[in-house]
């Protein structure tokens, strides 16, 4: 591994074959959108309740399993989607009732551990209900590619990006323009003040967990139609964590931008530098990418400034 190989050759490759480079970056952007989708679920819950919800990955798996389960029983697509949303809402209600309410006012680490327990439970529950075999999820979009200006674009990935963009738009409207959105922001700002204004924390938590559940359904559909609905879906939570520290735990735009940075950085590194060190660096590279950012901005790129007092 010489200086030339590490610092010069990859850039020469990029410059001599710009079309391929653009394809790599595009692939990275699409992967980043997928990470953002998962990270979004984390951010929503962390903002509203201060819970670092490790079960988000398990919720993605559970949502995808439920959706596929309904579709396998010949329920039409949209009805199945609506049913899955209902299931996620029930789940949110149950989680608030059974897990969060008794643990209110506990330290954050206790709540974090509870969500890890929850993710074990959901993994077991989902697979017991719907079976553990790998399922195909067909949403009618072919996993094929077409060319735009000589660059290959994958149709499924493009759809995923558009859907994710639309979802973020809807969420933004929900947060900024509706009554419930204002309540959500109030709770995120200050629990005590929100309570004293008559906002019910409990119903807000249910709403937030339901919204996170819907985000999980979308993420589950997108990941599931790409790689099949299987247990490994619940591990994508680990993929979303570097996105979180990069963008900040409390920022929706942070989740998006962080996801894109991680996605692109990861793909470019894997393609141009991966072979030098034997490949499969995807697992840790995202963390290595996020760490320098966090060292300079400990609250992430878009996170709220941490003010500490004695």
């Amino acid at each position: 591994m010489t200086f030339w190989q590490v610092f010069v050759a990859p850039f020469v490759d990029m410059a001599t074959n710009p079309r391929f480079f653009v394809e790599v970056v595009l692939g990275g952007i699409f992967a980043g959108v997928m990470y953002s989708l998962v990270a979004l679920g984390f951010v929503l819950i962390f903002k509203a309740s201060g819970v670092f919800n490790f079960a988000q990955g398990a919720m993605v798996l559970f949502a995808a399993l439920t959706l596929v389960g309904f579709m396998e029983r010949k329920v039409p697509g949209l009805v199945a989607f609506a049913l899955t949303v209902a299931v996620m809402a029930i789940l949110a209600f149950a989680i608030e009732r059974i897990v969060l309410r008794p643990l209110v006012n506990q330290e954050q680490i206790i709540l974090f551990m509870a969500t890890i327990g929850l993710s074990y439970f959901l993994d077991g529950f989902g697979e017991m209900l719907w079976g553990a075999d790998v399922k195909r999820l067909d949403i009618g979009i072919p996993d094929s590619s077409f060319q735009v200006a000589g660059v290959l674009v994958n149709e499924l990935e493009l759809t995923a990006a558009i859907v994710a963009g639309a979802l973020v738009g809807v969420l933004a409207v929900l947060f900024q323009r509706t009554r419930i959105g204002r309540a959500l922001r109030a709770v995120a700002d200050d629990h005590q003040a929100a309570l004293s204004l008559g906002i019910s924390l409990r119903s807000i938590w249910i709403v937030v967990w339901t919204v996170a559940g819907i985000v999980a359904i979308v993420a589950g559909v997108m990941w599931g139609s790409k790689s099949g609905v299987q247990f490994s879906l619940s591990l994508i939570a680990l993929k979303a964590l570097p996105v979180l520290i990069l963008g900040g735990f409390t920022s929706v735009p942070g989740a998006i931008v962080g996801g894109l940075i991680i996605g692109v950085g990861e793909k470019v590194a894997e393609v141009y530098w991966g072979p030098l060190v034997g490949g499969a660096i995807e697992n840790w590279f995202a963390y290595a990418l996020a760490l320098p950012f966090v060292l300079f901005r400990p609250q992430g790129l878009f996170g709220e400034k941490i003010i500490e007092r004695v």
Partner: protein, 358 residues
């Protein structure tokens, strides 16, 4: 009635600051030690030693290590599995490079290597806190396991990619490798964990432990009263990783026999974290209780359906086990967020009065 402390007066500082200031506790601990060192090897069979007691002791050591970092110094870490892997792989490299080196010394040295790696990955803790730090320690987890997987030098170019514990003796008795009896391995693990638990207990009630707890409770205030965060946090990372490294080396040499990086993946980190939380943050005794809970629960869950005559399909049973395990953890956190150690304290408080209500 039996556990009455009235009349036990302390006349010296030494007796006032003893680890077990109450005579009954002292006797209880002493009896426990004798039973563990003499009684258990005589009566326990191979299955009990191999499936329950040896992993319990090893996990206890790892849990003490993580408890020092998370429970006492307040730095949440999800990289325990990786630090254990560092211990295991460096022990393997050392004992294959120098077979005549005493195996206990190899364990200590591999603990030191793990401590060095822990110091390195502890550096970000000076800048970032809380969950940001937890996620940053995941970098250690994924990078180190990837490294051990990718670089064949770590496994001595074995094509299987696994490390295997070679046969080594300690005072003439075979303690590692396929020829070692479960009794010998149990005794080594027990001796190590007792020595290290004692060291940890003394560490956390002394100057070092107090500065850890000050950093944990309010780091800025601690800094103002003259505790250096750099030294204190890095020391916590170093010592914690030392414990985890020794535990990792033991895991391969005394328990598994051979292992690949899969044995040290993120689920191990979570498992040790569970032990610490369920046992009780900031308690050495809690580390033992938590390890016992996590080791015994899955075994019970596997055996209970058979015991009550229920025949379940294998995959269904696996799913139910996952569900029950997750549910139990949540239940435990709800019932007693401060862990088993707190329950034990409450029990002791009650015992003092028993059987009279006042």
């Amino acid at each position: 009635m039996l556990y009455r402390v009235a009349g036990q007066f302390k006349t010296t500082y030494a007796s006032d600051q003893a680890i077990f200031p109450i005579a009954q506790d002292r006797w209880f601990a002493l009896l426990g030690l004798v039973a563990a060192f003499v009684g258990v090897p005589l009566v326990a069979n191979e299955y009990w030693l191999q499936a329950i007691l040896i992993p319990f002791l090893i996990y206890s050591l790892a849990a003490i290590g993580l408890n020092i970092l998370t429970g006492y110094a307040g730095q949440l870490s999800l990289g325990t599995g990786a630090f254990m892997a560092v211990g295991a792989y460096s022990a393997f490299k050392m004992t294959t490079a120098a077979p005549q080196l005493n195996i206990i010394i190899v364990f200590m040295l591999s603990g030191l290597v793990a401590a060095g790696v822990g110091l390195l990955f502890g550096l970000p803790s000076l800048r970032i806190k809380g969950f940001y730090l937890a996620v940053a320690t995941l970098a250690a987890q994924f990078f180190l396991t990837w490294l051990f997987n990718k670089v064949p030098w770590f496994v001595n170019y074995a094509s299987s990619g696994t490390i295997t514990a070679p046969p080594r003796t300690f005072f003439g008795a075979m303690v590692t490798g396929p020829g070692a009896t479960a009794q010998a391995r149990y005794l080594v693990a027990l001796a190590l964990v007792v020595a290290f638990a004692l060291a940890a207990k003394n560490l956390v009630r002394g100057h070092v432990g107090r500065s850890w707890m000050a950093i944990r409770d309010r780091d800025i205030a601690a800094e103002i009263i003259g505790i250096r965060p750099l030294k204190t946090k890095l020391l916590a990372f170093g010592i914690s990783s030392f414990y985890c490294g020794v535990a990792g080396a033991e895991l391969v040499f005394l328990y598994l026999g051979s292992a690949e990086t899969l044995a040290f993946d993120i689920s191990l980190s979570f498992l040790v974290l569970f032990m610490v939380i369920i046992g009780g943050l900031g308690s050495i005794l809690g580390s033992f209780l938590g390890a016992a809970f996590i080791v015994i629960t899955p075994i019970l869950l596997t055996n209970v359906p058979q015991f009550i005559g229920l025949q379940l399909r294998v995959d269904l049973q696996k799913h139910i086990e996952l569900m029950v395990f997750g549910g139990l953890i949540i239940l435990f956190l709800i019932v007693e967020p401060h862990g088993l150690a707190r329950l034990w304290q409450i029990t002791k408080q009650k015992l003092r009065l028993w059987p009279f209500p006042y």
